[in-house]
């Protein structure tokens, strides 16, 4: 199979002559039809238009880096497809763009997040955390002046059109501080409409009562100035926060208790006694997440038990499936046996059945109270297949055996049949027993063929999310742990649960776990493949 490659390699090393270059170019011109040219121009035009639009939108939202990246990539693509050369790039670019964004970039981004405190309570900038805090602590100022209010709407977004006690008209909305308006339509000293906006009538205000009552329109850019809120949709009052923000000192002061919360670099305003004001903001925390995973007791203990179980699970799932698969392959690898075809068809079915469905079906069959295994097979037994820690682990291995043995059976059959007969014949002539032949000849040869697949299977099971998550959900849950983990969770399901399940999400910690998984799998596989290479050379 490799021969053609080698031949071509040799051929290319001699530099192409001028003549052959010209011939190639001529052939190129003759070959490219006008239909293709039109297709090329139209496709490029559409892509350019989309990219230009995207870049404009990105510029408007101040995402300069992203905008420049979009333009640069589009520019390169145009250059590649419009120029004469760059043939390999023409074929590689489409796939590369997706690869760069959704595999390489996200891998780097994972590493970046692992070094931040990104998660619930820390998901935005300091500025928006300050705003959110000020808003959440707002109270109506006694005796504050009343603002005449008209609620207006544009594109589904409500705004306050207010007339302050001095008669000045201003317009603002959520996160859009009040701005003076000159062309408002007045009615008896109160602004009632403004061009470009729809004025809400009484019934519309009633219909959107909740949304309007929740609105807080900042009076100015300084959060300490407070904001306007309305209890009834017709008059707005000034609400001031009981928190006071001092930007220069970076402190938040609770005006009622006098507690000073300061920014001590942990991503949240913290009082001297350690209480934090939530929400905080996102900061880079260095190796904190990794340190937490390995030292903080409430995370370390579950993390290490998950780590251990991940290895145990991955090892046993490969081992059991391979053992059964090999056994069956040997059993059925007998020319005298009839109707192997039908057995094989039946045995392949678990492999063809979608894995997530199998796990769910087994979860039903293993249900403690109503499941088929307890109720019918064991005549009404009450065995906690999925809710006892050790039985759950056993059940997972059993179901994985069901899922995985057909694959091992297939590859073992293939590998057995590729072992030449004459080797065995020779051994037989020399008087070796069937077991000896198997042990010293077939098995080593078989291993050479399947070892890479076994390693791949190990790596796959190391991250076998579907089986664990669908069958036990990682449970039974470890209630003592600070992170949401159970007895059968493996690392990847732990990542998922830390990041996406439950009310508290810790993206930073989850990403740190991802990085740890990657390092483990990469190390193991590099070592293992070195070993198997050695194995191959030996034989």
């Amino acid at each position: 199979m490799t021969t053609p490659t080698i031949d071509r390699d040799a051929a290319v090393e001699t530099p192409p002559s001028k003549k052959s270059k010209r011939a190639a170019r001529l052939a190129e011109q003759a070959g490219a039809g006008w239909k293709l040219l039109i297709f090329k121009v139209v496709a490029l035009g559409i892509i350019d238009a989309l990219a230009l639009y995207a870049a404009l939108v990105l510029f408007q939202t101040d995402q300069l880096v992203a905008a420049i990246a979009v333009l640069a990539v589009t520019g390169i693509a145009n250059w590649v497809y419009l120029s004469r050369g760059n043939l390999p790039a023409k074929y590689l670019i489409p796939g590369l763009i997706f690869l760069l964004i959704f595999q390489i970039f996200v891998a780097g981004y994972t590493a970046y997040i692992a070094f931040t405190n990104y998660g619930t309570g820390h998901n935005s900038t300091k500025e928006s955390a300050v705003n959110a805090l000020m808003l959440s602590a707002q109270e109506r100022v006694p005796d504050s002046p009343a603002y005449e209010l008209t609620v207006v709407e544009r594109l589904g977004e409500f705004s306050f059109l207010v007339t302050d006690p001095d008669g000045d008209v201003e317009l603002g909305g959520v996160e859009r501080p009040l701005e003076p308006v000159n062309d408002a339509e007045m009615d008896g000293g109160k602004a009632v409409a403004v061009p470009g906006y729809n004025t809400l009538n009484f019934s519309q205000i009633v219909a959107n009562q909740e949304a309007i009552a929740d609105m807080a329109v900042p009076i100015s850019d300084d959060p300490n100035d407070g904001s306007l809120r309305t209890p009834d949709g017709s008059v707005a009052y000034v609400y001031l926060s009981s928190l006071e923000y001092d930007e220069a000192a970076g402190t938040m002061t609770d005006t009622r208790t006098g507690t000073v919360y300061s920014d001590i670099g942990t991503g949240a305003f913290t009082a001297p006694d350690g209480t934090e004001l939530m929400p905080g903001w996102q900061i880079t925390v260095g190796f904190d997440n990794f340190v937490r995973a390995f030292t903080e007791e409430s995370i370390r203990a579950p993390f290490f038990s998950v780590l251990l179980w991940t290895f145990v699970f991955a090892f046993f799932s490969v081992f059991t499936c391979f053992a059964l698969g090999l056994f069956l392959a040997i059993v059925f690898n007998d020319p005298r046996m009839k109707s192997k075809k039908y057995y094989r068809l039946l045995m392949i079915l678990p492999y063809a059945f979608p894995g997530f469905l199998s796990a769910l079906v087994w979860a039903g069959m293993m249900n403690q109270e109503f499941g088929f295994i307890n109720v019918v097979l064991l005549g009404g037994a009450d065995i906690p297949w999925l809710t006892n820690e050790w039985l759950a682990k056993f059940s997972i291995l059993l179901v994985n055996l069901w899922l995985g043995f057909p694959y091992m059976f297939l590859i073992c059959t293939g590998a057995l049949q590729s072992i030449p007969d004459d080797v065995q014949e020779a051994a037989k002539v020399d008087g070796a027993s069937a077991w000896q032949i198997f042990r010293s000849i077939k098995l080593p040869l078989l291993f050479v063929a399947v070892a890479p697949l076994l390693i791949a299977s190990f790596a796959y099971n190391f991250n076998n999310f579907t089986l664990i998550y669908m069958l036990t959900g990682g449970g039974p849950r470890d209630v003592t742990a600070d992170v949401n983990v159970g007895a059968t969770d493996i690392l990847i399901t732990m990542v998922y649960k830390v990041a996406f399940v439950g009310s508290k999400a810790d993206y930073g910690l989850a990403s740190a776990f991802s990085i740890i998984i990657f390092l483990l799998v990469a190390t193991i596989s590099v070592i293992a493949f070195r070993r198997t290479k050695a194995l191959e050379e030996l034989n």
Partner: protein, 336 residues
């Protein structure tokens, strides 16, 4: 995807070995088995003089193999029979499903399409659309890349091939948090392709289109003699014409294999789909059926079972079809 993956090679390390060998293994193994089947019956028959002895010998040689076969086949097939029987049990719970085939009706299959909170029909269509588009995209992107790696020699070629291998060590599933946050940011600016959109999910899947698939195809492309495209070049065909009209036809088997594996893989992918698709009517079967089961576990078991049977028919059929397809050696006779 779970049980398929070691075979399809979506896992991290799959391709550390010789990729060409892998393609060969994939293509060779089932073929070898089939070839072997053809021989069956040609084996030696025991011919003892007494019937009793004959049976003993028969049992020692092949009889026990049938017993093993029956036991294993029962183990393999039972959960599938169970779910099929449960799906025919109208309005059945987990408990009533235990009476195998006691009650047969197609009610559950009809009820499946009438639930408003669990839009099974939408899930089915979504899964099909996402799976087909991703499979098509994967085949196209992978074939383009494999062609250039196989037929062209350029600086960075070796580096590119190695990079693809290394990148595969960090599977997309590990980057789920980053992918989620990236999609959140995209949807702030372009809601049409961000979080909770199927286009977004497809784009994420296409991020993994190169890599293993390219390797699989690259190995196959290499088996097609380059004398074919050289001949075409002499006849005046450009590279695009060679690629689209000659090469793609010759490598059709591997395109079919990659496409089918990608379809089967994406149609049962759970992690990314569950993160990116939020609205029930936008979800796929894997996400929807899981939510359905975790919401009301034992109550609507027959509904779930019906959903599972319908969801499995296509992948199982494709898989069985794929097995035979691989055997075909389209390129074998193409060199004149």
């Amino acid at each position: 995807m779970s049980n398929l993956t070691p075979h399809t090679g979506k896992s991290t390390l799959e391709d550390f070995g010789d990729s060409v060998g892998r393609a060969e293994a994939l293509i060779g193994a089932p073929g070898a088995i089939d070839g072997f089947d053809a021989k069956e019956g040609a084996g030696v028959r025991g011919e003892g003089p007494l019937p009793r002895r004959k049976f003993k010998r028969y049992f020692r040689e092949t009889g026990w193999r049938h017993i093993v076969g029956v036991v294993v086949a029962a183990f393999a097939i039972f959960p599938l029979l169970y779910v099929f029987s449960a799906s025919l049990n109208p309005g059945g719970t987990l408990l009533t499903a235990n009476g195998l085939f006691g009650n047969v009706s197609l009610e559950s299959y009809l009820a499946l399409f009438q639930s408003e909170t669990h839009p099974y029909g939408a899930w089915f269509v979504n899964t099909l659309v996402i799976g087909l588009v991703t499979a098509a995209g994967t085949v196209i992107l992978g074939a383009l890349a494999a062609y250039s790696f196989s037929r062209m020699r350029f600086t960075g070629r070796r580096f590119g091939l190695t990079t693809l291998l290394v990148v595969q060590m960090f599977p997309q599933m590990l980057a789920m948090v980053a992918i989620f946050l990236l999609m959140v940011q995209i949807s702030d600016i372009f809601p049409a392709i961000g979080l909770n959109t199927q286009i977004g999910l497809i784009m994420v899947y296409l991020g993994g289109a190169l890599g293993v698939n390219t390797y699989l195809m690259y190995g196959f492309f290499n088996t097609i003699p380059s004398s074919i495209d050289e001949a075409a070049k002499i006849d005046g065909a450009g590279h695009a014409r060679i690629f689209f009209t000659i090469i793609l036809r010759l490598v059709a088997p591997i395109l079919a294999v990659v496409g089918l594996l990608s379809f089967i893989g994406t149609s049962s992918e759970f992690v990314l789909a569950s993160i990116i698709l939020i609205d029930p009517e936008k979800q796929t079967l894997a996400v929807g059926l899981y939510k359905f089961i975790s919401d009301e576990f034992s109550k609507n078991w027959s509904l779930f079972a019906a959903g599972a049977v319908l969801a499995a028919i296509l992948p199982v059929a494709l898989f069985l079809a794929l097995q035979r397809y691989i055997v075909g050696g389209l390129t074998a006779g193409s060199v004149k």
